[in-house]
């Protein structure tokens, strides 16, 4: 079920009243049933896999959790009896058990995910190398698998680390792994944080419903007014890279930046809004990312839950791993500065390689990830220079123009990197990027170039107005979240805002049959 479908609208329109009308103890079963219905649309295999994953994760966590409870009770039983060394050996034996269980669980679930994500690619490579004829047709990534696998593995690792005990109620674990709003495009959610509201019962509150609805509406506005519309032009630009080079690449970069932002944050707005309507708090995934002053800050503000996940479960564990520590010690003879950098460098590049692979299954994404890592490391190395620079020109960092410059620089840098996301191959990406500096065709843009991308002047006007609105809303959000302030306004004003927004989406949205009204006018007879 897509967010932008009548099925989904109907689904929500039925779910919300049912959810609040049933006895409280049935709220969670109703929600689980909703997940079942929602995901039943994704196909049998996807459906079975999702719920099998939930069940498997539940069992693994129970097993891992048990080692903690056994450890505690045994240690308590032999308190004062065992000496320190014996206690330590026992603790270590339990830790080993935990690690093995966790490792099996991670390998199993990431293995399934990897098979779906890279299986067909790997089979293709095998076929070319060895002339075999395996078919990878069945290996398709099911909806939301990247998101729910990561969420679920976070839960297992947390239990292994003893952050919180394993959940005894299997329905809760199933509810968590299959929670439908976050299946579409995340955010990757933590068991403890989502559980705070997901596992509670909720009484109907008008404020929650209204706040949720307006958030959903705002999400649809971003998607239907800006993202889906501009996507047409972006697709056209990417399809013919030979034709659309030079200045068109820059246009494509900027259009894609707007499209991706509107699409992704819009989808998350819908997700969070639906959670809110049900009284459930879903973590934010964006914090006005295009206002970041540098790329490190950008990655703390864009797709925040993914970044946090990788930091917590990959970056830090890798950087303190035995292997890296040994490597660091061995490297001391080349100087402390060099040795101390080893964990940071290797962990950073490892995280970004994995992040790249998470985003897609072509080499483009690996290169994209590694370049992100490299730029982060370079800017980190340059930070003493920056500090000196700012020490010489104090006040510069408070200068409005300088701040705008850093923000624009970051957006351009991120947009350039994102070209790997667009073009089919790595060489093609570099070629297109290079053509921006070698091919001078700026005048072509307004001599029909822009008009040839499949959008009309009216479309650009709507998208432009949408982008300006998003920008203004972001500026307002600097002073804190918008919804509470909106809810404080008079009813008449609120209704006017909602009505206008809905009307604008319905009329100017890029949806429905025949966006191109021209196709409707055909020859007589």
């Amino acid at each position: 079920m897509l967010f932008t479908s009548w099925d989904f609208a109907l689904f929500i329109a039925v779910l919300v009243p049912v959810y609040y009308l049933v006895p409280k103890r049935l709220q969670q079963p109703v929600l689980l049933l909703a997940n079942v219905v929602f995901y039943a649309f994704a196909g049998l295999f996807a459906f079975v896999l999702l719920f099998a994953t939930g069940l498997s994760v539940y069992l693994f966590a129970i097993g891992i959790g048990k080692t903690w409870t056994t450890q505690e009770s045994v240690l308590l039983e032999h308190k004062g009896e065992w000496d320190k060394a014996k206690r330590k050996t026992f603790r270590e034996s339990m830790e080993k058990k935990r690690r093995i269980l966790t490792a099996v669980c991670l390998i199993l679930h990431f293995g399934i995910l990897a098979a779906m994500k890279y299986g067909s690619g790997l089979i293709g490579i095998t076929n070319t190398l060895f002339g075999t004829g395996f078919s990878g047709a069945g290996l398709v990534l099911t909806m939301g698998a990247s998101f729910y696998t990561f969420s679920a593995m976070g839960y297992v690792i947390d239990v292994q680390r003893g952050k919180y005990p394993a959940e005894k109620n299997p329905l809760r674990v199933l509810l968590y792994t299959s929670f439908f709003p976050i299946l579409v495009q995340g955010p990757i959610s933590r068991f403890d944080r989502l559980g705070e509201t997901l596992f509670k019962t909720h009484s109907f509150q008008w404020d929650h419903l209204e706040a949720g609805l307006i958030r959903v509406l705002w999400g649809y506005a971003k998607k239907l007014l800006v993202a889906d519309r501009l996507l047409v032009a972006v697709k056209q630009l990417i399809r013919y890279p030979e034709t659309y080079n030079g200045a068109f690449v820059l246009v494509g970069m900027l259009l894609y930046a707007a499209t991706l932002y509107a699409d992704f944050t819009g989808g998350i707005d819908i997700t969070i809004g639906i959670g809110k309507m049900l009284g459930i708090t879903i973590d934010e995934n964006f914090n006005r990312p295009y206002f970041s002053k540098n790329i490190a800050e950008y990655w703390r503000r864009w797709h925040m839950t993914l970044g946090a996940w990788f930091k917590e479960y990959v970056y830090y564990p890798v950087s303190v791993s035995k292997l890296l520590r040994r490597l660091t010690k061995a490297a001391r003879r080349f100087g402390d500065g060099f040795a101390r950098r080893i964990p940071v460098y290797i962990a950073t590049m490892a995280v970004w390689a994995v992040t790249g692979m998470w985003h897609g299954n072509s080499w483009n994404f690996l290169v994209w990830g590694l370049m992100n890592g490299a730029i982060l490391l370079i800017s980190e190395e340059l930070s003493p220079l920056y500090k000196k620079f700012h020490a010489r020109f104090p006040g510069l960092s408070r200068n409005w123009f300088y701040r705008a410059f850093t923000v624009i620089r970051t957006v351009l840098l991120m947009s350039s990197l994102r070209m790997f996301d667009c073009y089919a191959t790595v060489p093609e990406t570099f070629r297109s990027f290079g053509s921006m500096f070698t091919t001078w065709n700026l005048p072509l843009l307004w001599r029909g170039g822009i008009a040839s991308l499949g959008l009309s002047a009216a479309d650009y006007a709507v998208a432009g107005a949408g982008i300006i609105t998003m920008f203004v809303v972001s500026l307002i959000q600097r002073k804190g979240a918008l919804t509470p302030r909106l809810l404080g306004k008079k009813l008449g004003i609120r209704l006017l805002i909602y009505g206008t927004l809905l009307a604008v989406i319905l009329v100017f949205g890029y949806y429905g049959f025949g966006f191109d009204a021209g196709q409707f006018i055909y020859n007589r007879f």
């Binding site: 009548w6 009307a503 049959f513 025949g514 191109d516 009204a517 007879f525």
Partner: protein, 347 residues
């Protein structure tokens, strides 16, 4: 407290009302008006403006709304008729338009033009829209939507056409404003007049037929149409209207003939009696033999009226007071349009 919540509810209701009103107005604005461009889109809706009943209904695709002139039928034979046809009106469209018409009137005879039987599947969204959007709400419209929609269409946009036509906001023309409140009358009892002449220069050679039979689904709908007529005590007659193109195959003719014989109904294939009707494809067609112009339509109507009188007892409405003035007005408009187009063509 109570007063406060009452105020809130009233405020919400008022807002809802304003929103719905705005929705309806915008929907009305963006829906195609089908007045100057593609007037055949207006045909379905125009039927509901009729005040008098009809003794004969003609149902089918462009081969009825281009080829038969009800004004001629009335003036020559006193037959009060109406054409419920629209562009590429498929057989299930026709079935439901008939069901819809039978809600409010009981004609003596229904003539169905058989050309569209060759389509057993929904064809085009645009034609679906033009046939169905103009229908009044009821069981028949719901049935027509269900039978017609293509996989990429959705029912919701038939209920609220705004969802289909909203993208026209940037292409609104003067036509959309001019006919915002009221549309003009484009047809003469469902007949769209063409006065131009584009002679047929050659007879097309038909492509070999892959399937020697008309689609089974079409024939099922025809069967349903027959049953509907039986139930309502209406006589069904099948007609193949004159044309050179699209080609009407021998095999199809056999299927229709077999159906007519099996059900004991009349089937008039005008292609076989062209000498009797006198269609001359060098003067009587507006598009090289696909459709007749007004001269051809009048010839066909003369023949058709005679056949109807021979085979049925149809009252002569030329002596009926209630009909006379109404049809005089129709005739006057018909002649005016015919004359003005003639003059335009000659100048």
């Amino acid at each position: 407290m109570k007063k406060q919540s009452l105020k809130t509810i009233l405020c919400c209701l008022a807002a809802l009302l304003v929103f719905c009103a705005g929705f309806c107005l915008v929907q009305r604005l963006v829906m195609p008006k089908y007045q100057e461009r593609t007037p055949e889109g207006s045909l379905t809706a125009e039927y509901y403006r009729e005040k008098l009943n009809h003794d004969v209904l003609l149902i089918g695709d462009c081969e009825v709304f281009s080829n038969v002139s009800p004004v001629t039928l009335y003036n020559e034979y006193g037959i009060a008729s109406y054409i419920r046809g629209s562009a590429q009106q498929l057989v299930w469209h026709s079935y439901y338009l008939l069901e819809d018409a039978l809600r409010t009137e009981k004609p003596k005879v229904v003539i169905y033009n058989v050309l569209a039987l060759k389509y057993g599947e929904p064809q085009s969204e645009a034609y679906n829209r033009m046939t169905i959007d103009g229908m009044r709400w009821g069981k028949a419209k719901a049935g027509a939507i269900k039978a017609s929609i293509l996989p990429e269409e959705d029912v919701v946009s038939y209920v609220f056409p705004l969802f289909r036509f909203h993208s026209r906001w940037s292409e609104l023309t003067e036509e959309d404003w001019k006919y915002f409140f009221r549309e003009g009358t484009v047809s003469h009892n469902g007949y769209l007049m063409r006065t131009d002449i584009r002679p047929a220069t050659k007879t097309p050679t038909p492509a070999p037929l892959l399937d020697p039979h008309l689609p089974a689904s079409s024939m099922e709908w025809l069967e349903r149409m027959y049953e509907l007529c039986e139930k309502n005590d209406v006589r069904l007659i099948l007609l193949k209207s004159p044309s050179i193109e699209p080609y009407w195959y021998e095999e199809w003719d056999k299927d229709v003939r077999a159906f007519a014989d099996a059900h004991g109904i009349l089937y008039w294939n005008t292609l076989q009696v062209n000498d009797e009707i006198g269609i001359d494809y060098s003067t009587d067609t507006c598009d090289m033999g696909q459709h007749l112009n007004v001269y051809g339509a009048e010839k066909l109507s003369l023949w058709l009226g005679k056949k109807l009188q021979e085979t049925n007892e149809i009252p002569d409405r030329r002596t009926d007071e209630t009909y006379v003035s109404v049809w005089a007005e129709k005739t006057e408009r018909y002649e005016r349009e015919k004359a003005s187009s003639d003059a335009e063509r000659e100048s």
